[in-house]
């Protein structure tokens, strides 16, 4: 049902765990299916220098979390903001149709974290 890239990210997720001294931490939940994700970002000069996560969710949610964190590591927050869940799905080589929605939680968490950071900096949140 899942391709090998997805299974690899699911079985060996990257960037899992808590982070000491994060710049920002958010927790998001999907009301649709009860998935939850906690995202830790360390940001220096608007660049995401470190990232980690924890996720309660299905294989698609875990793999998307892992893939998304890989994709924003070392990126500017602007680049990270522009990452959509479909970019993540594409990087994973696709997800089964009914599982696409499970990738939204990572996008959600990243954007929410970036806006927390911007508010902290006294900036307007992006829309």
């Amino acid at each position: 049902m899942y391709n090998e890239t997805v299974m690899d990210h699911f079985e060996h997720p990257r960037n899992v765990g808590e982070m000491e001294d994060p710049t920002v931490v958010v927790e998001v939940g999907s009301s649709e299916c009860g998935d939850r994700m906690k995202l830790y970002l360390k940001i220096e000069d608007d660049v995401i220098v470190d990232v980690s996560f924890k996720t309660l969710g299905c294989a698609a949610a875990i793999a998307s979390s892992s893939q998304a964190t890989e994709m924003i590591k070392g990126k500017t927050i602007e680049e990270a903001w522009n990452l959509t869940n479909m970019d993540v799905v594409e990087a994973l080589g696709g997800l089964p149709e009914p599982k696409i929605h499970c990738s939204v939680i990572a996008e959600d968490a990243i954007r929410r974290a970036i806006n927390f950071y911007r508010k902290d900096q006294g900036l307007e949140p992006w829309k």
Binding site: R36, L56, C58, K99
Partner: protein, 391 residues
């Protein structure tokens, strides 16, 4: 433990309620009917004698397993067709007598979706609640009966949590009110003794692939004197009640499989029951915050169903898969809490438990060694997922 995909990962199949391999003896019994004794049973010539005789023998094997007469057995293409036939055929045959059907809220979709279809056609359906163990209360059945009730359908054993219903009592109530009683016994065959007469059953569905028979085979028991409209119209096969060229190898396989699996139910119950208890107790001991779903005693001897809050069932299933353990989840993530399995919802499992549930269903082909392996792997996998999902 069987050989498997990669040399160091064993294969432990614990999903016998989903399907079973066709037993090699069963395949062997079927083989001659593909190539050698291939004659159409409806043909007059000698070549077809073997097909006809084989169907008659299989009918006898199924009848013997249920305690009925051969002519009360009709072959179908599976449990779903049998369920559809029983419900639509009876509803239609007795539509002059009433338009009310009683069933339970934890039936298989083959029953529930058929009932929903009948509702669009003018029937009224009562879906009885169950208690937290999944039991239907016969008192509820009796209370739901109206002068319009023509059919009661309650499954013998549930496919998710394994709860066994008081079928005999429900059947007696049905008969007291001159109502036809159907039971979906798809999960029960081979795991408990069945006697349709003593159990007051008028119609019974079964499916071959649940007891080491071939997929795409099934039967409907129709008690003598019960009149059912046809579901599938056409040629005169099955005494004019189920049209279509007979699936001779499939029917032969169904017969061989049911004879095999009912030959020693006591022995099976002892062996598989011991494995299941070892598994369930081992899990309870080793895994904190684990919840055993279903009835403590009145359950299928091969069924263990747990919730492990703090993780997702599908993720658990896939990690087990990578360890060579094949099991089933109670409810898929894509469906989520709203779409949580109707069975778990009906027995009052909270969504967080529902999404983290695992069904392990054993068979005679499982071993103590395999159970030990599962008891080794499962706690690690669960701990890992819980760790990843706890914050």
């Amino acid at each position: 433990m069987n050989q498997s995909h990669s040399p160091d990962v064993p294969t432990v199949y614990l999903d016998h309620s989903a399907t079973t391999p066709t037993h090699p003896d069963v395949v062997r019994a079927m083989l001659p009917f593909f190539t050698k004794n291939f004659g159409n049973p409806s043909s007059l010539y000698r070549l077809s004698d073997a097909s006809r005789a084989a169907i008659a023998a299989a009918r006898g094997q199924v009848a013997a397993a249920l305690g009925c007469s051969d002519h009360e057995i009709f072959f179908t293409a599976g449990g779903t067709e049998s369920d559809n036939w029983a419900l639509k055929g009876m509803a239609s045959a007795r539509h002059q007598d009433g338009n009310h059907i009683i069933t339970s809220s934890i039936e298989h979709h083959a029953i529930l979706h058929t009932c929903e279809y009948l509702e669009t056609q003018g029937w009224t359906v009562t879906y009885l609640p169950v208690d937290q163990h999944g039991l239907v209360d016969p008192g509820d059945v009796e209370a739901a009966i109206t002068p319009e009730t023509t059919l009661i359908s309650v499954m013998m054993a549930n496919n998710e949590v394994g709860t066994i219903q008081p079928v005999r009592e429900i059947g007696a109530i049905a008969h007291d009110h001159d109502i036809c009683f159907h039971t979906d016994a798809v999960q029960a065959i081979g795991h408990m003794p069945i006697d349709v007469k003593a159990m007051n059953i008028d119609l019974l569905s079964l499916s071959g692939h649940k007891f080491f028979g071939p997929k795409g085979t099934g039967a409907l028991y129709i008690r003598d004197g019960i009149r059912l409209d046809n579901l599938i119209h056409g040629g005169g096969q099955e005494k004019g009640h189920r049209a279509g060229t007979e699936n001779v190898p499939g029917i032969v396989g169904l017969g061989a499989a049911i004879e095999r699996v009912t030959a020693d139910i006591t022995g099976h119950r002892q062996k598989v029951g011991a494995l299941r208890d070892m598994l369930a107790q081992g899990i309870a001991e080793r895994i904190p915050d684990s919840h055993y779903n279903g009835h403590p005693e009145e359950r299928l001897v091969n069924n263990a169903h747990f919730s492990f809050p703090g993780l997702d069932g599908e993720a658990l299933l896939l990690l087990l898969n990578s360890k060579g353990i094949y099991a089933s989840i109670g409810s898929a993530c894509s469906s989520g809490s709203e779409d949580m399995s109707h069975v778990l919802r009906a027995i009052g499992v909270p969504p967080a438990h529902g999404r983290s549930s695992l069904r392990l269903t054993l068979g005679d082909d499982n071993t103590k060694e395999e159970v030990k392996y599962v008891l080794d792997v499962l706690p690690q996998v669960i701990e890992r997922l819980r760790e990843m999902g706890s914050f």
